[in-house]
Amino acid sequence: MSQAPAPIDRQSTPEQVLRRGLAELARTNGLRRCYDCGKCTSVCPVNLGGRLYSPRLLGQAALQNPGPALQSALWDCLTCGACREICPVGVDFPGFVRDARALLPGDAVARECSHGGALQTIQRLTADPARRQDRMRWVPEGATWTREGETLLFTGSAPYYDRYFDYLGIESSAAAAAALRIMNRLDIAPVLLEQERSSGHDLLYAGDGEGFRRLAHLNVDAMRAAGVKRVVTTCAESYHVLAFHYRRAVPDFSIDVEHFLPFLERTLAGRDIAFGAVPGRVTYHDPCRLGRMSGVVDPPRRLLARIPGLELAEMRHHGLKALCCGTSAWVRCGATNKAIQIARLDEAAATGSALLATACPKCVIHLRCAQADLPTGPRKDLRCLDITELLAQSLVPETKAVSSG
């Protein structure tokens, strides 16, 4: 992903180069350890969503016949990590898929990305160092923040999602605004970067390692210029790449990265801050990047448990076994993905909750998009929102209520 470009090989055909590249990725991601137990297939959401899909067989095809069928199938993977979680020998199939996409010939992003690739294009446009964005309109009136300091609140692509998904009534930056209000309540005035870029998650997972690296460098340069020592974000995907991939892209990156929920839990420890009541029942949807892939499973539950009157009802698949929201990196969203999203909404509705809280703007967007196509009923009536908005309602008394209880 982030290695220097290899010297041009004039002796091999493109097929041979691809075959060698996939074999190397298979080695680094442990695909050769597979002993055909098939557990990956049994938990793969794409397979459960109605399409015949087996990470195990795809891994074998990658080593034997990386033809067009395999190349196409690599775009169907959600990279949700369910297969990696259950694999008894630690095969990292999502890691293999992520890096293999970068090897595929042609302009795969143009062909495979949903929304015509517009969301990846927005991220690439922000990679212009001279660009002067106008992305701070989400900051609540009266909120306190600084341009320089130790703790950065990273908002990533949220301002763009607000614009692009206005037809769904999406307000992704509401989570960042809620986090800012909570931090202010805790006497923290975080740094906000007016020229912050997307974290680059979607480019990395759509096979554009160079685009990801460019964004990572711009973000890290801006963080250093502002004197940032710790990055906090409410976005699961931003957290995942900042914490686990920025060091590969920017070798001397040494800034601490923390998701907002563990940060909040740690900051609240030993302080006498009262949680206000939010009556009702909520279910929590673990974003793949935050739960399975980063291990942040308990902090959101412990925080929800502190809100008086709020009952947490778990879905059938939760924690490390949570079902994906159906799509990742804005790649190839279709009927199978919709089926997964509706299955997830069914699980949430079965808990009897009126609220579905999560910690990823894209999970909210995907589930709300699926709801838009549904007839009336409990799964359409679920209010999907970011957990930080709920916490702000409880912790910051003047916050407008986000739940009807």
């Binding site: 001279a130 660009r131 992305r135 614009r163 685009g211």
Partner: protein, 132 residues
């Protein structure tokens, strides 16, 4: 001075005939830029406009038919329904509003089309030099 790079998305109906009139007179309305013919401007989404800017366009013009001449009513309406979203995304990206032109022309309005594009190219001004 280098001319700005302009991408013109033009409907294949009314504005295309206006362009043909210009060509017959030996003129190029789009300056040194490129014209992309589309079935209807309804086929031009945010993705294409953003990609044009990413590929280095200094300005993007989307030229359609007047409403009474439109053969693809729903597509055109869908385009205009999403226009505010597109403008809002460009504004957030820091791409000024004057770098996007939306206009409609009758087939007989060749001169008006040429003037509009000349004004647009002039308003876009110097090239940004950005290309990824």
């Amino acid at each position: 001075m280098t001319a700005p790079r302009i991408i013109v998305f033009s409907c294949q109906w009314a504005p295309h005939y206006a362009f043909q009139s210009l060509y017959r007179r030996g003129r190029r309305g789009e300056g040194d830029g490129m014209r992309v013919l589309t079935a209807c401007i309804g086929r031009v989404g945010e993705d294409l406009v953003l990609e044009a800017f990413r590929q280095g366009a200094d300005g993007v013009a989307i030229l359609g038919c007047p409403p009474e001449l439109c053969r693809h009513g729903l597509d055109r309406e869908r385009f205009h329904a999403r226009l505010a979203t597109l403008r809002s995304i460009l504004e957030t990206l820091g791409i000024p509003a004057h770098r996007l032109l939306i206009a409609a022309f009758h087939p007989h309005e060749a001169e008006h089309l040429a003037e509009s594009l000349e004004q647009f190219i002039s308003a876009v001004g110097t090239p940004s030099g950005f290309k990824l």
